[in-house]
């Protein structure tokens, strides 16, 4: 028992390290934030998969912050309603938007009149996770890797076809074809399960899928994942190669982050960053996020802001390349 107490666990050490790293800023700022109920904004309807994620963090952050956190669902317009609501809220750190950074950034280009200037009106606080999109084929496909796939599509001329889900899938498919100098017909699906039977029947040559669905189907043995879109291999799926390893220069990372209105003071942002960091560093959170097909992602507020700006820039090109019309 005492031995256990004395043995420094990884978790305790990390917590100590985090505390040490943050103590100067905390000492100088002397903020009493948070001292009342915090609201997390979720851009998805109650009960959806993404809502589960936001509620997980609401519960965990509430414990470390010692304050009640309520989740307000503001679904609609691809997340624009929630983003705009956050941007217009009082910049005091009590209205916190937990959402996909790439989707927030993409909205700048998916709409003719985006309601907010994402990089200017929102301030990044912390990351949550990073997850790649995945290129997969049916289990009995002759294609072994991306090189095989490229050869197959080339051989079929313009006649190959592929399934996509979500805007990120559309984009990854289009970028891959363009970089490899290929042509194929895209068949968009709204969810992975919709696409499964068509993939399995052999009517489609490959599929660009979200990680949650792709990994679960690879476990079922119905598909094989050929590559991920992230620049490096994921920690949670170390055996799946990246597109880059095959010479296709793709760096498309999906990531979730925490955002507040721009005018929020530094000390509040730093405190909130630390609260999330404490939750993100627990093994439970790592396990929970791996279930969503991604790795835990931790950083400083500046890093979040930089990635947000970079993602906005990236998506300008993507939307043009994938010929996604604006609304």
């Amino acid at each position: 028992m005492f031995a256990n107490l004395l043995k420094p666990t990884r978790r305790a050490l990390l917590a100590l390290a985090a505390a040490a790293a943050l103590s100067p800023s905390l000492a100088s700022a002397q903020t009493d934030y948070p001292n009342k109920t915090i609201t997390f904004i979720c851009a998805f309807p109650a009960g959806s998969g993404a809502d589960v994620l936001v509620r997980y963090f609401a519960e965990r952050v509430s414990k470390v912050a010692g304050q009640t956190i309520i989740v307000e669902n503001k679904p609609g317009a691809n997340g624009n309603i929630a983003a705009e609501y956050t941007a217009r809220a009082k910049p005091d750190g009590y209205t916190v938007y937990v959402h996909a950074g790439n989707s927030t950034a993409a909205n700048m280009w998916l709409f003719k009149k985006p309601p907010i200037d994402v990089a200017k009106d929102l301030r990044g606080v912390q990351f949550i996770n990073k997850q790649p999109f995945m290129i997969a084929v049916r289990k009995d496909s002759p294609v072994r890797d991306i090189n095989d796939l490229t050869a197959l599509i080339k051989e079929k001329g313009g006649d190959a076809s592929y399934a996509t889900t979500a805007t990120s899938g559309k984009v990854l498919g289009a970028v891959y074809l363009q970089l490899a100098g290929l042509q194929a017909v895209e068949v968009p699906y709204s969810t992975g399960p919709d696409a499964l039977n068509d993939i399995m029947s052999g009517a489609l040559d490959f599929a660009v899928l979200d990680p949650v669905f792709a990994l679960s189907q690879q476990r079922e043995g119905s598909i094989r994942i050929l590559a991920v879109s992230s620049p490096e291999r994921m920690k949670s799926t170390p055996d799946i190669p990246t597109m880059k390893e095959y010479g296709v220069n793709i760096d498309q990372l999906g990531w979730w982050g925490v955002f507040v209105p721009t005018g929020t003071p530094d000390d509040v942002v730093n405190k909130l960053n630390a609260l999330f960091r404490e939750v993100l560093e627990t093994p439970e959170t790592e396990k929970f996020l791996n279930g969503f097909g991604g790795d835990v992602f931790i950083g400083t507020p500046e890093e979040v802001q930089d990635l947000l700006v970079k993602t906005v820039e990236q998506w300008r090109g993507y939307v043009e390349l994938a010929k996604i019309p604006q609304n």
């Binding site: 309807p45 017909v185 068509d198 009517a203």
Partner: protein, 501 residues
């Protein structure tokens, strides 16, 4: 036997204290709704949908399913005792059930209805357990053209089997299809029919639609035509035992009703109401003394009661295996599953076996609960009929409003609900039954997606629908169905069948 292994998984999941409790709450609420006239299972499920959002998916589905088949039970109680059907599938039970009650056999009629329903529920559960897995294996062969053909058949069946005028049913399906098109188009990412309203970007929300069309309109309907107060026939617990003669007449009818109901439940467009009517017609036709019907025939209670319950169970099969709702109640169940983050379909059985088998097992447990709670509590259910509507209606109205606002804190959703409320009232005045509209609304976007997808994959060649055997068979069946409506002999039969309502 794999079936028993699966059922064991199911009973383990459904047998947890929490799930037993939600099953109990579900069947209790269902019975209540079945007893109260005016509120059928569709508005009831719509009204109660929001309170299941906080539950885990299995508990939520167990409760919603319990409400549905619980309502089938409750409806028979008031049909027999008060000659007032609580919901549509109990309408036929009134005919002979209330006559039995008048002859002093109320207790026997109630017992026959309850035990017949329990028997049917048990067989229905076994039916799902036995036919679910093979059907789901077939479902995995379904590709886009097959899905399109199946949904087309489903919509046509819904029209053929709908109550009232065919033309109105077709109009309702088409309006439903059109409403389903609102929102972002999956192929291009462009929005359609949104009129610049951001609340419509992701399509019309399901909840405001069903609550407006069914929940609140139901109240207005009852306010306009208040149900007349009727004196219930007194009955005591010890009168419940049917005599030998009655048992001898009841059990073959219950078995026939179960068989008929199980099959009609699976068919697209089928369901509890159709099964009850079909069973009554069958019993009357094969009876040696058809004149007895209408004056207290035991078969006229046992058959339809068994049939509606069996169909209530088996109508879950197409939803759980193909992801296609076969009737409007299942369309609401599908909405509930999607809200819970579960895409109904063949994948449910492999990825969430606890959910699939847990739901199947819970139906049997729920049926058992119903027999146990219903028979001794008959007196209480009858007294519930005297709850004044001035208390009931505001409560339901409040519940609808909270339900819509709590799922998305957007005032626009309330506006949407009011729009559908007005639309539903107009439909009521025009005598249009909005149930096929919900089916069209749910199936419309799926149909469009699968149609366009099939054509993209085939590079625009429509022969793809006839080249695939599954889709070709389904399309042939759809054409046969259309011929049935067009040919006068059948049309007359159809009108006769629905006349008895």
């Amino acid at each position: 036997m794999e079936v028993f292994e699966h059922l064991a998984t199911g009973f383990l999941a459904a047998g947890s204290l929490q799930n037993l409790m939600f099953c109990f709450i579900g069947v209790l609420l269902g019975t209540l709704i079945g007893v109260l006239p005016g509120i059928g299972p569709i508005p009831a499920l719509a009204i109660l949908l929001p309170i299941t959002f906080g539950l885990d998916p299995l508990s939520a589905l167990i409760m919603l399913a319990g409400i549905y088949y619980g309502a089938q039970y409750g409806g028979s109680t008031t049909s027999i005792l008060v000659n007032m059907p609580g919901e549509a599938s109990s309408v036929v039970t009134c005919i002979d059930g209330h006559q039995m009650a008048k002859r002093g056999r109320a207790g026997a009629a109630l017992a026959i209805a309850a035990v017949g329903s329990f028997f049917a529920g048990t067989i229905g559960t076994i039916f799902i357990a036995a036919f679910g897995p093979p059907l789901s294996a077939i479902a995995q062969q379904f590709t886009s053209p097959d899905y399109f053909a199946l949904m087309l058949l489903g919509l046509i069946m819904a029209v053929v089997l709908a109550h009232g005028a065919v033309l109105k049913a077709i109009a309702m399906v088409l309006i439903g299809l059109l409403l389903g098109l609102v929102g972002t188009d999956i192929n291009t990412g462009l929005t359609r029919y949104t009129f610049g309203i951001s609340g419509l970007w992701e399509g019309i929300e399901f909840l405001p639609l069903v609550l407006g069309l069914f929940g609140i309109v139901e109240i207005i309907r009852n306010l306009e035509n208040p149900p007349p107060p009727r004196e219930p026939i007194n009955t005591k617990f010890r009168d419940l035992m049917p005599n030998r003669q009655e048992i001898r007449e009841a059990y073959p009818a219950a078995i026939r009703g179960t068989g008929l109901g199980s099959i009609l439940g699976i068919l697209p467009g089928g369901g509890a109401v159709l099964a009850a009517f079909a069973s009554y017609t069958l019993e009357k036709k094969i009876s040696r003394k058809p004149a007895k019907f209408g004056s207290g025939a035991v078969e006229g209670v046992a058959g339809p009661e068994a049939a509606n319950n069996a169909a209530a169970q088996t109508s879950f099969i197409p939803l759980l295996t193909l992801g296609i709702p076969s009737n409007p109640v299942m369309a609401i169940m599908m909405g509930a599953m999607i809200i819970q983050g579960i895409q109904p379909g063949a994948a449910v059985m492999t990825t969430r076996p606890d959910l699939f088998w847990g739901m199947v097992a819970s139906m049997w447990i729920g049926n058992l609960m119903l027999v146990i709670i219903n028979l001794p509590l008959i007196g209480m259910w009858v007294r519930l009929l005297s709850v004044p509507y001035r208390l009931l209606y505001p409560a339901i109205l409040l519940f609808c409003a909270i339900g819509v606002y709590s799922t998305s804190t957007e005032p626009f959703m309330m506006v949407l609900m009011i729009v559908f409320l007005i639309f539903g009232y107009i439909l009521l005045k025009l005598g249009c039954e909005p149930a096929p509209l919900v089916l069209g609304f749910i199936l419309g976007p799926l149909m469009e997606e699968n149609l366009r997808r099939s054509l993209v994959i085939s590079r625009g060649d429509p022969m793809v629908f006839l080249e695939r055997p599954i889709s070709a068979c389904l399309l042939v069946a759809a054409v046969l169905m259309i011929m049935l409506i067009i040919f006068p002999q059948f049309r007359k039969k159809r009108e006769e069948a629905f006349q008895e309502e």
